[in-house]
Symmetry: D3
Subunit: 294 residues, 6 copies
């Protein structure tokens, strides 16, 4: 069922246009408010929730800070404290808002189950965990490590998404479903990457130092894939669901299986043109790989 | 240790008897109350909990609505609102109660760790997530989609079980352990299916439309299995733990491995007689498959 | 980045020294308070949290009982009830404190991302779930099963760590990341074991009885590994990430893949000298196993 | 500042018209929704509150049950339990709704500070305490005394209004400000009575039996007045602020002072024509009583 | 309606018997449990509450600590902290339990609306505020003043009972209704005193030092009475409702009015034989005082 | 016991000095932090509370907004919303901070039971209610009336202090004890006024318009006094506890009793020189008024 069937407007044709970023961000926030207003009208039982989380706020940063503060608080970490922390951090670093908008767009464009921007903003634990991680990461870079780690712990408890605050995450990221994602301290994730649930970007050994994967731009990592060690997943590569990857994967190739092998063979692996992190094509390699097996 | 050792009565010999459904439901509810009463007497520290969740209620629907409302509420989605929503939905559609009873029986019969119906009702996140999903699905079919999606999000946060509200789930389902289960929008799950934790019934690509697995009656899907795309898992099939399945699996066959292959070979796969969704036999294929490997 | 860079003292050179256990426990608790005091001073926003969870308490047991009570409570299981339960149990069985201290040391020594004891105490869901499990297990052995199961359910909801209260877990355990761990009723885990996230120690079939894995001392089980049935993983063995293991694994060997095979071959598997549960070496077998594949 | 200045419609010219009661109740509920909708539009910060308390509900009973459940709950008396109790009681006895509507009208007509029906419904602790008392009284008459007393206790904690559940309270009551009101077990209050804050209708002695005041229709009792014992305050009488009354007061007379005396003298007290409970004239007797004193 | 009609046993004939105190305390606690058990059986909706507050506890101190911790907690003063504080204080000073038992007896004997000990324990804000005050007073005498004052503030917020932690309060006290009671820093209240709601034992001036009333044994102070300054209310005196008392009142006399005068005249005031703090006779002086006025 | 005995520094000799206001405010905030730091050190059980309410904040406005947000929130008015509201209002109007500082000084100087500024800031319900009222009043003047009234309602529920948001309150106000204070819509209170608990500044009749008392600068109103109607209490006047005042009181005179009369007689009332609102002398008139009575 195309999202359009729900009566929501499509996103604007291209985000690569000349539109200045600020204007674009304003357009997304205006969409979110319009969606929430429509939903509040059609569903009175949800109106209170939509007003408190979206419609009573004057900006995306405020809405997001409020929502995250209420989601991540506990009896010992009060919502007021977290709200304050998020709001201050978002206010002091405009790039965080831009990243949030890019992530909202990523979900809206890549996930056919995402019916609206507000759907993602309110309900996607991957989106929410990622925005909270960005704040934790900011705190980490400011050497406010105990606070960053406390936030990290709450994100892991509440969303079952465990991203070390030192990990560097790009923009335009889709964490789809997101439950069980684990990303280690020295991992780096590029832009426009899509990562499914249960994915691990893990370290190895007990030595400190650079020990986690580096994920290039536009990579797609399927559900349950495990990538371990300081390995490089080349830009535009695709990692099949359930794969276990322990060594580098060249750009625009596909690695599948446990242990993972390259589709097309180690010597002359198949190379694809599209950007799997954006096309979300998990299974086009089936014909060459899986069909003969069952 | 047989559950009987705990002094709980066994379930009645067969649920396939002539007993009218309503009478059967009443029997289960009476059992639940008796179990809770016994536990409250033997464990004063738990009595308050048992009274509030079970013993103060006049029906299974009320007990379940109360328990789910308190489990799924948040500071912005109040327990009173959710309680009302669950109670109204359960009251308006008696088939939801019948499905809950079938699921309770499934857990009691198939899971040796399930010591009583009340144990399942109170403590099984898979059972609770499934009942809440049924309400979300009902809302979805009534075009109350924003509410269905908000509920979906709470279920995913609280239970780490992510079932899209559009997905169709049969009766007599056991979600065992349940953490990390992901079931997509156009998936269909038949009756008497058993699904272990970390199982994914996922889509592929970013196109809308029918893109998720169809699971036949009586199927057993082992822990961590990933099934992707609009593939058909035939009735009575068995999917081994950790398998990655991208194409159809014939009825009453067993698929294992990553990538998955059929036990017995693609041409003449072994076929079993029993219904694995009910027998829960995860490992009888070891002799033909795994033994030679290690 | 070495933990020492953060300015925290290293743990004492060896825990195998002659130091009496009680003295050692006191040293760890003193460290925790010192760490918390330093963090409270450097980060006022976190001071309230650190005082309520650590600095206002006179012992590790009290701190842990308070923290777990607040983490695991719900609207129907009050924090005061849980706090009382934890405190009474820890007070009545000193071995629980000793196990907690051993686990704290395990995290501090084996996990390079663990910057301090207090970091583990406050933030590691694996550590917290394990301590709460030990209390549930104690209740189980006292035949307070409904209470043990209610606690089990809360641990699974809050931490996404599902350890049956009957399962026996040794000391010096590191559950790293921990999300999605499932350990069944008759499983036994030895001492000094390290278990990554998404690991399953599962049963098979619906018959009661001894049906879950037995994990020897010093074993390392990688992320997403699934071990099913009453199989024996020999002391010092290593199970690769994503492996599916259905039969015994000999001591000090490495099993990898789905289905798992022994590195070095079934007949003459490679044997390692070090204790992988402590060395945390996940990937040294790459050269012999995975390299040729991609 | 006349309430009309706020742009709210005036109440219909007379509630003594021929309008059937049910129709009238519907009119009030429609007004409440219209007021709430206007306020939600003009004040986004309050919209969430107004939706959750009023706009998401289909009837006055549901709105009131929800609001009281959330106001009166505690960590040991859950909002879901109280909501259920209120809703069931309001549903089973339509006279409770009629009384609530009469009280809303009383506040709107008699209290110039009451700017709208919704203002009273949401914010007047006297109104809310009175409606909750009516439910407690109903429970008392059904011999559900422990529950009635638990509710009584919550009302006294939350609103500082202490009305024994056995006390009989008429309709069209205004408890203005309400803090500190105490009404004893065998007290009876007629219709169209107005009672200010800190008023006591108390008993005397420790014998059981009929020992509290009986207040006639249309009586006005000023702030801080104390009326003790089984005395009769005649219909249309007025009790001055701060008075202490220990014996009967004849109809349509005014008692003032500590100890109270009748304005105009014991033998030929002044009698007024208007109904002070509705006219709210606290001070017209000043000229005859107080003026000469200061 | 006599309390006996509710089917509760009467208190034992005399508390002045030879029964050792400990035995007596045990009898009261046994009564409380029996009452709660009966109520839980007859009222399932309340059973959870009764189990959590009374039936799951092994002693009166534990029950009271639990109940007060949950009543007085806030988002910044956690229930677990308060529970711990109450439990430790009650455990370390047995006289606090004895005082609580004496207060329970006082309510049961003197207040005809008090239907059972458990009714008082759970629902009487005067009783609960008094027990919490005793803990605050204990902390004050231990020079833990900031904590005592924080507790004082919570008691005043939650119960609208404001007793300075330095004030000394005897045993066998009945604070009936209790809302609005204010007792200052240097006030002293004897044994077997009954104090109604809105009573003030206040200071005067801004100088430090002994500036509040001293209330003798067996005094009865009626609703709304205000006693100011370091004055002495003699043992067995009675202060009429609404009186304002600024100078000493001789033993066994009655002061009434604003300004207060002695019944019978200053020179030869009437003297009564009974102990008004126990007889609760508020109004027997009417015939000599008030009758002639109205 | 002089406050100085507790080891706290005295306030600076005079607030009427040349010190610029801003500097003075900074001095008070520094004192508060120093007091809280000392208390946190001496009382670990309270440290968490002191850090969350005071020590983690960078300004008095932030601390106050946080504390009020957490005190006044409810399940339908979230702490995050209230915190935001308070912080924005305090930030936009610096006179609110100045008024808060003046009130803190008033409590510290006039109330011998006030041991420190932080004691007042954290624990005085009169102080807290007054600051929250000032925000509500600000909202009222901005025509955000529904929000002002919702806040008014919460203040009345939580603190039992009921000040209509339209009422105008000066600076340097001490609401001592505060429970039960009621101040109506058109009331005006001058500067440096002290008002005890249970005081009513009430209206009369049901007509709109200016109908509440006007209280001059430096007035002292004793506990339980009731002042009704649009009457004028002259600057420096004193109203005795429990008085009922219905007509004007000349400046620097004392009115006492019910009905109130002027001390010294209507014609030539005694006039005092000091400012009773600051001297807090409640009872110096006893010799001329009350002494002869008892």
């Amino acid at each position: 069922m195309p999202a359009g069937d729900l009566g929501y407007p499509s996103p604007p044709p291209s985000q690569a246009t000349e539109t200045p970023v600020e204007e674009d961000d304003a357009w997304v926030w205006a969409q979110i408010k319009a969606e929430a207003r429509r939903d509040a009208e059609s569903e009175p039982a949800l109106a209170s929730y939509l007003y408190s989380t979206i419609l009573s706020h004057s900006s995306l940063e405020r809405s997001l800070s409020f929502h995250l503060g209420n989601k991540l608080c506990s009896s010992t970490l009060l919502s007021t404290l977290l709200y304050d922390l998020f709001l201050n951090t978002f206010s002091s670093d405009p790039s965080l808002r831009a990243a949030a908008v890019a992530d909202l767009r990523a979900a809206r464009v890549r996930d056919p189950a995402c019916v609206s921007f507000s759907h993602c903003l309110l309900n996607y634990k991957g989106f929410l965990a990622c925005q909270a991680h960005r704040v934790a990461h900011k705190l980490w870079t400011q050497s406010r490590r105990p606070l960053a780690l406390a936030l990290h712990s709450r994100i892991s408890d509440v969303f079952a998404v465990d991203i070390h605050p030192a990990a560097k995450i790009g923009k335009g990221i889709l964490f789809d479903h997101a439950t069980g994602v684990v990303i280690g301290e020295t991992a780096v994730v590029g832009n426009n990457v899509s990562i499914l649930h249960h994915v691990t970007l893990g370290g190895t050994g007990k030595a400190c130092g650079d020990r986690h994967p580096k994920i290039g731009d536009g990579v797609l990592i399927g559900a349950g894939a495990t990538i371990l060690g300081n390995v490089k997943i080349g830009e535009g590569a695709k990692i099949g669901a359930g794969s276990v990857v322990l060594i580098d994967v060249p750009p625009r190739t596909t690695a599948v299986g446990n242990p993972a092998r390259l589709v097309g063979g180690k010597e002359k692996p198949s190379r694809h043109e599209e950007c799997p992190g954006e096309s979300m094509d998990h299974t086009s390699f089936i014909s060459e790989w899986s069909d003969y097996i069952i």
